[in-house]
Each structure stands twice: as C-alpha cells, then as structure tokens.
C-alpha cells in the first residue's frame, strides 16, 4: 500500500470514507488510516525533533489524540490537514518541553539573515548533482525549524499553500515568504560549501 498519497489542493479527501468508519469505532478503518498516514506523522516529528526515538513517541501520542478526538472531527477541513495540524502542534509542544534548543524556534533568524545578506558569489560550482542533493538534504536539518517545517510540508508531504496555512495558522504571504527564505538559505549553503 502506498504510504505517500499526493494531496491535491481542493480535491476530495482520499481518507474520508475510512475516517467516517473510524468515527463509528471501526478498528480496521483506524488501522488503515494509521498505516497510510504514519509516515507523514513520523517524518514530521523527526524533522522537528530531529531524533528518531522522540519521533516514535510523538507519533504514538498523535494517534492517541486523533483516535480520541476523531468523533468530534466535523470534516470542515480535510482529515489529512487536521492530522498534520495535530502532529505539528504536538511536535512543537514536545520540542518546547524538551528545551533542546531554546532559541531554535523563537527564532534564529539572525543566522538566516546572515546567510541572506551575504553577497559573495563563487566562481566555480564543483558539486555534481547527486552530491548536491545529499548536501542540501543535510542542510535542511541545520535550518531553523520553522523553515524545515514548511519545507517538509511543501516538498515531502506535498501539501498545498492553502493546506499549509491551515496547518500552521499563518497567512499565505508568511508561508510563501518562509519557503522562499528557506530556499535562499539552502542556496547560500551551496555557495558557501563551494567557496570552501
């Protein structure tokens, strides 16, 4: 069963029928929902918490909440959006409680501005594409978490801008700006790596 379902903006919710069954207490439907969505939840938790064990614990907490809150889910938004919202807020709450990086979320825009303000260009681009990819993927984990979060939702989970605004509770312009800043920060990481 494919774990990754492309979310079409404005399209019908592929999990709607399963959700309705699960709301009535159908354990098999819940099992299918868990199976089809667990990678999103786990991946999101990992991208925010940056720790596999914490991401596992978080996924468990998320599904406990989902299962308990499911009877009250009215379907105003897609289930996947609702699930992402629960997972995101649970991850951020967990991150705050862990206090691993007291300024990571609040935020380390200084670092980003430092990167963005740097105007030096490099003459050579020695990286081959496959190395680029690995390097860029690694650099995402060094970005402030709010940028890693929007990148994850947009590129890995393939949520639309509208869905991301619903999940994060941010205006559309803010979401787009954060995505652009994250892209630029990664581009600057490439430049600095090539300059070394």
């Amino acid at each position: 069963m494919p774990l990754r379902t492309r979310l079409q903006p404005g399209g019908s919710d592929p999990l709607a029928e399963l959700v309705e069954r699960a709301k009535l207490g159908d354990g098999d439907a819940l099992g299918q929902i868990v199976q089809r969505t667990q990678q999103w939840v786990y991946n999101l938790g990992y991208r925010i918490l940056r720790n596999r064990q914490e991401a596992e614990d978080l996924a468990q907490e998320v599904y406990v909440r989902v299962w308990r809150a499911l009877p009250g889910f009215r379907g105003d938004s897609k289930f996947t959006t609702w699930l992402h919202s629960i997972a995101t807020h649970a991850s951020l709450n967990r991150l705050r409680s862990l206090r691993r990086e007291s300024v990571a979320w609040a935020d380390s825009d200084e670092m980003l501005e430092h990167l963005l303000d740097s105007q030096q260009g490099s003459e050579s681009e020695p990286y081959v594409e496959s190395q680029d990819k690995e390097f860029i993927w690694q650099q995402v984990d060094r970005l402030p978490r709010k940028y890693a979060l929007v990148l994850t939702l947009f590129y890995q989970h393939e949520l639309s801008y509208q869905e991301i605004t619903e999940v994060l509770g941010l205006p559309l312009g803010t979401v787009k700006a954060q995505l652009n800043r994250a892209r630029l920060a990664l581009a600057d990481c490439l430049r600095e790596a090539n300059a070394e």
């Binding site: 819940l30 667990q38 681009e125």
Partner: protein, 185 residues
C-alpha cells in the same frame, strides 16, 4: 530581498516557474546580473533536490505500536465514562454539604452537655470535646479535599497533555510486559 538583487523574487520564480508574473520588472536585471544568474543556478539545484527529498523511513515496529496506542484511549473512555467521575464527586459534595449543615447542631449539643463522670466509652463524643471537634473538622476537610481533587482531575481532562503522556507510557509498559511474558513462554 537585498538592496540590489531581488533574491526573494528569484526564489519564488524558481519554485513557480512563472517568469512573467513573478519576475516582472526584475526580468531585465536578472538577465544581465551575473550574481543573480549564479543565485538562479543555485536555487534551481536546491529546487531539484527538494523535489526529490525522501521522507525518513518508518521503523519496522512502529505500525503495531501505533495501532495499540490508538485503540487504547477510546476503550478506556468507554470503560470509564465521564459519569463515573462526576457521580462520585457530586455525591461527595452533597455529603459534605449535609455534614456541614448538620454538624453544628449536633456538635453544639455535645459541646454544651454537662460533663459526665469519667466512664469508659467508645462513642465518638465521649472523646475530649476539643478532640472531637478537631476530628469532625478534619473529616470534613478530608472529604472536601477528595471532592475538590476529583473535581480538579476532571476539569484537567480537556487539556489532556499530561494524560496523553501518562497513557502513552502506560501503553508502552503494557506492551513491554506483554512481550516479556510472551517471550518467556
């Protein structure tokens, strides 16, 4: 956006691919500026990499663990519906209210009764008057404490974050115990 180079615009352009709408007035500058051209190249590489960015793989045992956790809470609520908390709490409150209403009269009688000859007795008011009063008040306070505690415990339920953690840990402990038990057979 920097002072000289429209970097935010470049980032949006690379992501959207819509040259006319996004680049607009910046198009000519971007075309002629070597810094913007290099930025553009790097942003394209970033875009390609991000579009192929894989999700982290899910641990093998996570599915079972999630299913077990997801099914646990609602069955707990079915076993322990809210009335099982509210009914005892209301009962305790009524008991305390009745005790407070009735206690002063009975205590007043007991306290104003003429002292009797010291005879061995097991009755409550045979105790020293002050001790009896203290004991009575202590019981009322204890009962009120139980009622308040139960009430507070229930009012915390909408928040539920602590309860979630507790249940998660409990389910993990049960899961671990189950594995140990099944492996030991």
């Amino acid at each position: 956006m920097s002072d000289n180079h429209p970097r935010q615009v470049l980032a949006e352009y690379v992501a959207s691919g819509e040259q006319d709408r996004v680049l607009g007035e910046h198009w000519q500058h971007v075309r002629d500026c070597p810094i913007c051209q290099r930025d553009l190249q790097r942003l394209r590489r970033v875009e390609v990499a991000l579009r192929q960015w894989p999700m982290v793989s899910v641990p093998a045992m996570l599915n079972e663990r999630l299913l077990a956790a997801a099914r646990l809470p609602r069955s707990l609520e079915e076993n322990y519906p809210r009335w099982t908390i509210w009914l005892p709490a209301v009962t305790v409150v009524i008991a305390i209210a009745l005790a407070l209403l009735l206690a002063p009269a009975s205590l007043h009688v007991a306290l104003n009764a003429p002292p009797q000859a010291a005879e061995p007795s097991l009755s409550f008011f045979a105790l020293d008057r002050e001790a009896g009063l203290a004991l009575w008040i202590g019981m009322c306070v204890a009962l009120a404490g139980i009622g308040v505690t139960m009430g507070l415990a229930d009012s915390r339920m909408p928040d539920r974050e602590d309860l979630d953690v507790l249940r998660t840990r409990a389910s993990r402990a049960v899961e671990h115990a189950w594995r140990v038990a099944t492996h030991s057979r």
